[in-house]
């Protein structure tokens, strides 16, 4: 049951979720999620498909009830916060009602909120002023998405939740969307957005919560997450080195050798580099590179998956072939 939790001291008006669990039959979609989001923060919920992002968001919005765990949205239950008009949501799936103009549809939604924004200004903020008199059935995918954004925005909510807002968009559409989003985040709203585009989380969030297989596997600034995994890569040119020997160097997690080119993925690149030079003084063209969020993501999520997938025959065959 979702019950009210007192906001933490120093975080009035924040969002807190504690020990969330949610199963659909056999599928354990969310398996113990804890998260707190401070007022005014822009947080990315990052993870692959099936990580439990949408289920978590649905619970924060009161669309799903957790099997166990507690949620507080500005000191209220999720349903209470929605009823008070404190929440605006842009859900992952959804079309617009037809036979209305963009401006009429947004006005219709504005009427539902107690302190909604001026419709004209909202349309401008969402970048849909030019199409405000067009019927909703005659919009492109990118335009519809920005109208849905205007719908989430027009109620002037304190918390804005966007579930993969750019999933269906092309590169240009994504750029336009985030351009309109930037002003909103700057206006002091609390924003939670789910994405599986790492560059979006990196570029637009103050903080990244990484989810995999129904759990939070990392939580911090994009830089902190990279630091936590320490996924730096050393590249070097080196003759006659064997992968086995390289991977046993201190600080190295995995090693690849393609002829003379050597790639070392490191948990501790400083130690690894010293050990490499001590053992192979001939190593040259050395390059140490900080890991991308993409690499952090793969490392964190595959670590978590390994024990359970280990038993499957396909996986065993794959291991044997290596």
């Amino acid at each position: 049951m979702a019950v009210v939790v007192q906001p933490r001291p120093g975080e009035p008006g924040g969002i807190a979720a504690l020990g969330l669990h949610k199963s659909f039959g056999e599928v354990r979609a969310v398996r113990g999620v804890d998260m707190t989001i401070g007022s005014g923060e822009t947080v990315a919920l990052l993870g692959p498909n099936g990580a439990g992002k949408t289920t978590t968001i649905d619970m924060l919005l009161g669309l799903q009830r957790p099997d166990s765990g507690r949620i507080s949205v500005f000191g209220l239950s999720p349903e209470g916060a929605v009823r008070a008009g404190l929440v605006g949501g842009m859900l992952q799936v959804g079309s617009l009602l037809r036979d209305l103009t963009v401006s009429e549809l947004v006005t219709m939604v504005a009427a539902l909120y107690p302190r909604s924004l001026n419709v004209g200004e909202t349309l401008a903020a969402a970048g849909v002023s030019e199409i405000s008199e067009r019927r909703t059935q005659n919009l492109s995918g990118g335009q519809s998405q920005r109208v849905r954004f205007a719908i989430a925005l027009v109620g002037n909510p304190d918390l804005l939740v966007l579930d993969e807002p750019t999933a269906a968009l092309d590169v240009e559409g994504r750029r336009d969307f985030w351009a309109s989003m930037r002003g909103v985040a700057a206006s002091g709203k609390t924003v939670l957005f789910a994405t599986h585009y790492l560059e979006e989380a990196d570029a637009y969030a103050d903080r990244v919560i990484l989810m995999a297989r129904g759990k939070v596997v990392a939580d911090g600034s994009p830089t902190e997450i990279k630091g936590k995994v320490g996924a730096r890569t050393i590249r070097a040119t080196l003759e006659g080195a064997r992968e086995m020997e390289l991977s046993s160097l201190p600080g190295v997690s995995t090693a690849e050798a393609h002829g003379e080119a050597v790639i070392l993925r490191c948990a501790d690149s400083d130690t690894a580099l010293r050990a490499l030079l001590a053992k192979y003084p001939a190593a040259r063209d050395i390059e140490v590179r900080g890991g991308t969020l993409e690499e952090a993501f793969i490392e964190l999520t595959t670590e978590d998956e390994a024990p359970e997938l280990g038993e499957t025959p396909e996986r065993a065959g794959l291991e044997a072939a290596r």
């Binding site: 669309l63 929440v87 859900l91 799936v93 939604v109 009427a111």
Partner: protein
């Protein structure tokens, strides 16, 4: 207040959807003009044919309007729109109310067009007769409003058309909207237990200027309560799923 503001735009959508508008009002209207026109001087069950058929077609048409209002929930649910509304402060009852308002607006338009057609067929009722008939029709539509909301939560958009059409037609047929099913016998007894029968009887009330018997009021009340209860269960079952 919010329900009204919301319903206003919902109504605008009906008027703009010309095909829906024309078909749902045009069909009973054309049937009335053709069939009542060719039986102008006959009587059914001691009621002048144009009067009987006027209430028959009005009952059927307005019933369609009200049921389809609720049926739209199914469509909006499949679009993901009802989910979107669930993250706004609009309470579920207000959403359903907007669909009932929309259904009644369609019914009102049907009633107006058919009354005009009735006047053209020289149907003459006293003013109080018209008012009583209209009032009874509006009350008699209540169970169908609940039926629409129930079906809107149970059906998918691809089954919606045939299901709503079929159910309305069955109620209309058994209630005697397309012609009486005899004054005695099993069908007559069944008919008297149906809300659509009493909708049609609103026409006789218009002529005699006496409202339904107590049986009529009870039948309408029981159907309204039972269908509203079923609609509520269908709503709960539907929202529990997602």
């Amino acid at each position: 207040m919010t329900a009204l503001a919301y319903a206003r735009y919902d109504l605008l959508r009906v008027v703009r959807n010309r095909r829906f508008f024309i078909f749902s009002i045009g069909f009973p209207l054309i049937l009335y003009l053709v069939i009542a026109g060719s039986n102008k001087d006959k009587t059914i069950a001691s009621i002048p044919f144009p009067v009987y058929y006027l209430t028959g077609m009005t009952a059927w048409g307005s019933m369609n309007g009200v049921v389809s209002g609720g049926g739209l929930i199914s469509l909006e649910r499949s679009l993901g729109w009802t989910r979107q509304l669930r993250v706004t402060p609009l309470p579920p009852w207000a959403y359903m109310a907007s669909k009932v308002i929309r259904g009644y607006a369609m019914a009102a338009l049907t009633i107006i067009f058919l009354y005009l057609a009735g006047l053209a067929m020289s149907v003459h009722l006293a003013i109080s007769g018209w008012l009583l008939m209209t009032g009874l029709i509006l009350v008699g539509l209540l169970p169908f409003a609940a039926l629409g909301i129930m079906l809107g939560h149970l059906l998918t958009p691809d089954t919606l058309g045939p299901a709503l059409g079929g159910i309305s037609a069955l109620f209309a047929l058994l209630g005697g909207a397309w012609g009486p099913l005899g004054q005695t016998g099993a069908f007559h007894d069944i008919a008297r237990a149906l809300p659509s029968y009493w909708l049609v009887q609103a026409g006789e009330a218009g002529l005699t200027r006496t409202a339904w018997s107590s049986t009529g009021w009870i039948v309408i009340a029981v159907w309204t309560v039972v269908l509203a209860r079923l609609a509520m269960l269908a709503y709960r079952r539907d929202t529990a799923k997602n």
